[in-house]
């Protein structure tokens, strides 16, 4: 039954997946940045994402705007409920942006080292926060009758959420490592080969721990999979995508490794969406309804108008995104205009 509410649930998942895949490697590059030893290498790492990070971040802005427009009750609940987390996320994203922009503008060593660490820390914090948010949403949140989150801030830093945060950070680091491998050559690329394996290993461990914890202790996350057995297909595809990464690295096909990594990230977003469906925020308070794609939604007219926007707008966006990525294909070349 494909109605506008379901369509928008899917479109939001697509926007979120787009953001995670694209800014995932931006944040991963930031997390890995300290492995670059010389100033030259650090500039290469930064310029691997230099032209692209800004456009990638727009996927988050558009996801937020679309969530606001399509499901304002959910937007209001999540953003006000996770107030501190969102404020910290904003601080992190601001620092990430200005670290990239300012770092190479002056030649002072102190200046550059400061912004290098800022780039690393802000990328890491952002990645952790995304995971912590997802981990909390998967467990369900206590909401009152109006749909306001009535839990505290410290409750959000529970073991499961922190585990999901660590998994997300390691996932982005792996994704960023593979991306950097593709964009670099020479000594830096050789070291990145090691780091691809390392980050994959850490991610694999985090993935297994998180999956086990989810299966054992987070009933809300697995309920849908029991109810709709066909959803197991996505789980199988996720495992295959993850398994393909080391296979591709081993057989020296880093391009395919990167695609598998992209597929893995997309699969996690779809697993997340399927675990939530049909809720946007599951209420852990008994007797009060959850925020669903029906009761948290805007009017059908708004959903229709937004759908028209998406139909017209997104093909253009995809087209010129491809053109722009194509323009910056290949290894990083430092020039007059690089960061």
């Amino acid at each position: 039954m494909l109605d506008l509410n379901l369509i928008w649930f899917i479109l939001l998942a697509v926007l979120l997946a787009g953001y995670i895949i694209l800014d995932g490697f931006d944040l991963g590059v930031g997390i890995l940045h300290p492995i670059a030893r010389t100033d030259q290498q650090r500039r290469v790492v930064i310029n691997a994402i230099g032209p692209l990070w800004d456009g990638n971040e727009v996927w988050l802005v558009t996801f937020g705007g679309a969530l606001f427009a399509a499901f304002p009750e959910a937007y209001a609940c999540i953003f006000s409920g996770f107030y501190m987390a969102f404020i910290l996320l904003l601080f992190a994203l601001i620092f990430r942006a200005v670290s990239l922009e300012f770092r190479s503008k002056l030649s002072s060593r102190v200046w550059r080292v400061f912004w290098d660490w800022s780039f690393f820390a802000s990328s890491l914090v952002a990645a952790l926060l995304f995971g912590v948010a997802a981990g909390n949403v998967l467990q369900g949140l206590p909401l009152n009758e109006r749909g306001d989150y009535v839990g505290g801030f410290i409750e959000l830093l529970n073991p499961y959420a922190i585990l999901v945060g660590l998994m997300t950070a390691s996932m982005f680091a792996m994704h960023g490592a593979i991306y950097l491998y593709l964009k670099t050559d020479g000594e830096l690329q050789d070291r990145l080969n090691t780091w691809m394996w390392r980050t994959f290993g850490i991610f694999l461990v985090m993935y297994i721990l998180t999956t086990m914890y989810t299966l054992v202790n987070i009933p809300l996350a697995t309920a849908n999979f029991k109810q709709y057995p066909w959803a197991a297909v996505v789980v199988v595809l996720t495992v295959l995508a993850i398994a393909n990464i080391p296979r591709c690295i081993h057989w020296c096909r880093p391009g395919w490794a990167f695609l598998s990594s992209c597929a893995t990230l997309a699969a996690f977003v779809f697993l997340f969406a399927m675990a939530l469906f049909p809720n946007l925020v599951t209420n852990s308070t008994p007797d009060i309804s959850s925020l669903t794609i029906y009761n948290a939604a805007s009017s059908p007219k708004t959903l229709w108008i937004m759908f028209i926007f998406a139909i017209f707008g997104m093909p253009f966006v995809l087209a010129y995104t491809v053109v722009i990525y194509w323009t910056f294909r290949g290894k990083v070349q430092l020039g007059d205009f690089s960061y």
Binding site: P51, G55, F68, F86, I87, E101
Partner: protein
């Protein structure tokens, strides 16, 4: 802790810092398109040098604009969740459209604009520059539409929400929200076009004065003279036309504000008592005595501006219940400062254009010095305009409509006051997130303030550094010498009144 005041303070701080950057992006975007078009047309290397220089500064501004812009989108949800629920159906769509149609365009092609000089053909690069300029203008369209809907809502109705198929009550109160009826009426609500035009021209002024400030500095220091003259001339034309145009736009907009938000206009002008209105040039509104002290005014001037005759009755703040009135001091002062600066811009740009025509502009060092500093009032005028608009809109976050009689008077109730229909608007005090404690907002205010102070300092520092470095001539074009280079240099003298033999003035 007054969470309403704290959230308003945070919004004010974050938006005022953010608004330093998009107008520069819009204004400089136009400058970049102009410079690159001329380069493609004339192949004069100086245009390319100029374009590359201004692009570096553009990129710096753009990055901070993006970083501070996300803060705004998230803030509707974090601090204003009841507002988001009430208006999301209507207000959310322009914001989503801003992402889909504008942000992707400008941020995407920014990659080619800033990093792609040596990677793509000049034509493709020029196309990218146009896309970035267009993207920034598109984004201003959507956000001004959204804000204008807050000021003069239209194209919607306010309905009770349903939950589980039944009308939704909480504590016996119906849960209400605005729902869209007609998309085009939302977009073209009564104030959109006035405000959009006014905002654009304000951005052009800010961009023009920014370029003129830097160019004038170079001229005073006798550096990069040819580059500076060309930049200054282009920006001066943009600045002069915009300064005059914004006066006209402002006049029509003030009329529009009087029709749709008369309490706001009364606050702007310090018009406490209904009756013929004086046009205050300066003054100090005093709420206690309900009059403007130390005033210097044109008698009947306000009535003249709004109705064409000096004795016409203008609705005063006394037509509104005290709880429905906006504060007066801040809107009055910011509005008057904005207008004062606007007059100053007209004066110096027109004077400069006249001097340029007779060939004496670049000799007036005092005037160039004024332009170095004039970027500050250009920024302030833009900020004060917004302060006036948003503080003057209080106590509303969605301003309800007012009704006028045929006679030109407001429709009032038995108590002599305008009866706003309670559900047609939303008060700011009712729009604040109820589950966000004061200490959290203090934390975020302090955090943003410190970070933004740091960013401002660094931005100015790096900007200063880039300005001192100055434009770098594009390497390959230095080889163009001989007669051809000479002819190009001759043709490049902007006003054609300068002399080939006179290098310094």
């Amino acid at each position: 802790m007054d969470v309403v005041l704290l959230s308003r303070l945070q919004f004010a701080i974050t938006i005022m810092f953010h608004y330093l950057f998009p107008p520069l992006t819009i204004g400089m975007g136009i400058v970049l398109v102009y410079l690159e078009a001329n380069y493609l047309r004339t192949k004069d290397p100086l245009y390319e040098t100029a374009a590359r220089f201004w692009t570096k500064i553009f990129a710096l501004n753009f990055a901070i604009g993006v970083a501070t812009g996300i803060v705004m989108e998230f803030q509707f949800g974090t601090n204003w969740s009841p507002y988001s629920r009430f208006v999301g159906d209507v207000f959310g769509s322009p914001l989503a459209a801003e992402g889909i149609f504008a942000f992707f365009l400008e941020s995407g092609f920014l990659a080619v604009l800033v990093f792609g000089w040596d990677r793509v053909s000049p034509r493709m690069h020029f196309f990218s520059t146009i896309m970035v300029a267009l993207g920034s203008i598109f984004s201003s369209i959507w956000i001004v539409i959204a804000n204008s809907w807050q000021q003069t809502p239209a194209g919607h109705h306010v309905v009770q929400m349903t939950r589980d198929g039944r009308p939704w009550f909480i504590d016996s109160q119906p849960v209400l929200r605005a729902e869209i009826l007609n998309f085009w009426e939302v977009v073209f609500n009564p104030s959109t076009m006035h405000r959009l035009v006014h905002v654009w021209i304000g951005c052009f002024i800010m961009g023009a004065f920014f370029v003129m400030s830097i160019s004038a500095y170079y001229l005073l220091r006798n550096r990069h003279v040819e580059f500076a003259r060309r930049s200054f001339t282009g920006a001066l034309l943009l600045g002069a036309i915009s300064s005059v145009a914004i006066l006209v736009s402002g006049h029509f907009q003030a009329n529009n504000v009087y029709e749709t938000q008369p309490a706001k206009l009364a606050a702007f002008e310090g018009h406490y008592q209904t009756g013929a209105g004086d046009l205050n040039i300066i003054g100090w509104p005093d709420d206690e005595s309900q009059q403007v002290k130390f005033k210097l005014a044109v008698p009947g001037g306000l009535s003249m501006m709004l109705h064409g005759e000096s004795k016409a009755e203008i609705a005063g703040l006394d037509r509104f219940r005290p709880v429905d009135r906006p504060p007066v001091l801040i809107p009055f002062m910011s509005y008057h400062l904005m207008v004062a600066f606007g007059m100053f811009f007209i004066a110096i740009t027109i004077l400069s254009v006249l001097l340029l025509v007779i060939g004496k502009l670049y000799r007036q060092r005092w005037l160039l010095a004024v332009f170095v500093i004039a970027v500050v009032p250009a920024v302030l005028a833009n900020q004060f305009g917004w302060v006036a608009a948003e503080v003057g809109r209080q106590p509303w976050i969605v301003h309800p409509p007012v009704q006028w009689q045929e006679s030109g008077e407001l429709v009032v109730g038995a108590d002599g006051y305008v009866q706003y229909e309670p559900n047609q608007g939303l008060r700011t005090a009712d729009a604040v997130s109820t589950n966000v404690e004061g200490w959290k907002i203090v934390f975020s205010i302090v955090g943003f303030s410190l970070i933004y102070l740091l960013l401002a300092a660094i931005w100015l520092f790096v900007l200063n550094d880039k300005i001192h470095q100055g434009p770098e001539p594009v390497g390959v074009d230095r080889k163009k010498g001989g007669a051809q280079g000479l002819m190009q240099a001759a043709a490049s003298l902007a006003s054609h009144t300068g002399s080939m033999t006179e290098t310094h003035e």
